[in-house]
């Protein structure tokens, strides 16, 4: 598997993806819908698939001594590595952002960049991964359709998550704040996010591999 991951990063990844990893810097903006920073990462993952397709990656990869499903596994892992790296890199920006913008009203555009938010972002990634990858591997060539479907799902999810936090008073007071006193209420959301992300990744791999197995290259 490490050979396949090496191949993914050496051949399929465009160098701009590394630049995109630092897009967590958007969390420094005082009033912003912070989900947007992470949606950019979904876009950079889309580019990986686009570049791989344009370079006929699938035919090269499956001609190597691997099984078709190994190619899917490597791609799933690569996606998870990009997403988790970007999320981790965003954490210091979130901490700095809170310090340099001591705004009593907090982020007026959306949820604060706190633990709960990071949990919700991981759930967003889980949703994106499942829809984008499993749809892509139905054809292994069409990237537009999976992008549209996953974008619609992401738009609905982000709108619903933001609306819930802003409109439900209990969530507003406990989740949309960086007050250390209520931090314990936000931790379960983060843990839930991690669990859903991990479970979704496993399921995404199984579903995508099954879809790819049926594809005639």
């Amino acid at each position: 598997m490490k050979e396949l991951l090496f191949k993914e990063f050496k051949l399929a990844l465009h160098p701009t993806t590394y630049l995109f990893l630092a897009i967590g810097a958007l969390l420094l903006i005082p009033a912003y819908i912070y989900y947007v920073a992470f949606i950019y990462t979904c876009l950079s993952i889309f580019f990986v698939f686009l570049i791989a397709r344009e370079n006929k990656d699938a035919l090269y990869t499956v001609s190597l001594p691997i099984r078709k499903r190994d190619a899917v596994k490597a791609r799933c892992l690569m996606v998870a590595i990009i997403e988790l790296s970007q999320t981790l890199i965003a954490v210091p920006f979130a901490i700095i952002g809170i310090r340099i913008n001591p705004n009593p009203a907090g982020n007026v555009a959306g949820i604060e960049a706190n633990m709960a938010f990071f949990g919700l972002v991981l759930i967003m990634y889980a949703l994106f991964n499942f829809i984008f990858l499993s749809q892509f591997y139905k054809t292994a060539t069409k990237v537009g359709g999976p992008l549209i479907l996953s974008s619609i799902a992401l738009a609905i999810y982000v709108t619903a998550a933001e609306a819930a936090v802003q409109m439900i008073p209990y969530l507003k007071t406990h989740l949309d704040t960086t007050d250390p006193a209520t931090a314990l209420y936000r931790l379960p959301v983060l843990i839930l996010g991690i669990i859903i992300f991990a479970l979704s990744l496993g399921y995404t791999y199984r579903k995508s591999a099954a879809n790819f197995e049926k594809v005639d290259l």
Partner: protein, 280 residues
């Protein structure tokens, strides 16, 4: 020793079927895989390697079942689908660096030897190579992991006659005194006259012959005659009869030669066999 065996491979498409494709290749030989465009050559090769999802059939490589032991089987195979056309912007050395990691038997010294021999510059990108050079680079990769079975899909198409001849000579050299075998598909029958020991002929998804080249050529004769000689008794035995103003030319099974008394009988070649059989 049997290096490749394909048994009853079936693949159904809406407008095309691969029907019970079976053939086998012994160690130390070159097999040419011929057929018209769209006859199923590439589909067969892709089905062998499971790039295409086969409906039924078994493939064994050096006695190992491909489906059960895909990793071991693929270690033994060097696959060249046309020339290399993936990652055209990448340098040869980068592609090689990625590829070598998958093969425990990778021989770095052999690889640099092949690069020198084929006059390939590792700092060039794939897109800078001509079609012939791309095939050679793919061969260099396959040979450096010590592949026993080279499967090449139309390696000579698009090459000029000199490069083609060069490549065919190389094929012969590669199997001489070695444990390798080559299966290559082509629609250029003269390629096969030069180097193939065996021919597998596919027509509309069905294998119609898989035999030694000389046996195949000997089993047919090319006959010519006048219109008057084209009798009702003779006609059903003729294969791909072409009528002209002066008479006819057709293919006849050697076994049917007694029917051809008084007609001009010439030895056949792969091209005439293919042309007449495809006319049926």
């Amino acid at each position: 020793m049997e290096i490749l065996s394909v048994q009853n491979l079936n693949k159904r498409y809406p407008k095309f079927d691969l029907k019970d494709v079976s053939f086998s290749l012994e160690q130390g030989y070159i097999m040419g895989f011929i057929g018209r465009n769209g006859a199923g050559k590439t589909t067969t090769i892709k089905s062998i390697l499971r790039l295409v999802h086969q409906d039924s059939g078994t493939v064994t490589v050096l006695g190992k079942d491909f489906a059960a032991d895909e990793f071991a089987c693929k270690q033994q195979i060097g696959l060249v689908l046309g020339g290399i056309n993936y990652y055209p912007q990448k340098k040869l050395k980068v592609i090689a660096d990625v590829t070598r990691r998958f093969y425990p038997e990778w021989d770095a010294a052999a690889f640099s030897g092949y690069l020198k021999r084929f006059d390939l510059d590792p700092d060039k990108t794939i897109k800078e190579l001509s079609d012939g050079m791309r095939v050679k680079f793919a061969l260099a990769l396959a040979l450096s992991h010590n592949a026993r079975l080279l499967i090449l899909d139309e390696p000579t198409s698009g090459l000029d006659p000199v490069s083609r001849d060069d490549l065919l000579e190389l094929f012969q050299e590669l199997i001489e005194n070695s444990e390798r075998s080559i299966l290559f598909s082509t629609q250029i029958t003269s390629d096969l006259e030069k180097c193939a020991d065996f021919i597998t002929y596919i027509k509309k998804g069905e294998i119609i012959a898989s035999t030694a080249r000389d046996d195949l050529v000997d089993s047919y004769k090319l006959i010519k005659g006048t219109s008057a000689q084209l009798t009702d008794a003779l006609l059903p035995r003729l294969i791909g009869c072409k009528k002209t103003d002066f008479g006819f030319t057709a293919l006849l099974r050697s076994a049917d030669l007694p029917c051809a008394a008084g007609l001009q009988v010439d030895p056949s070649d792969l091209e005439s066999i293919m042309i007449h059989i495809e006319k049926e």
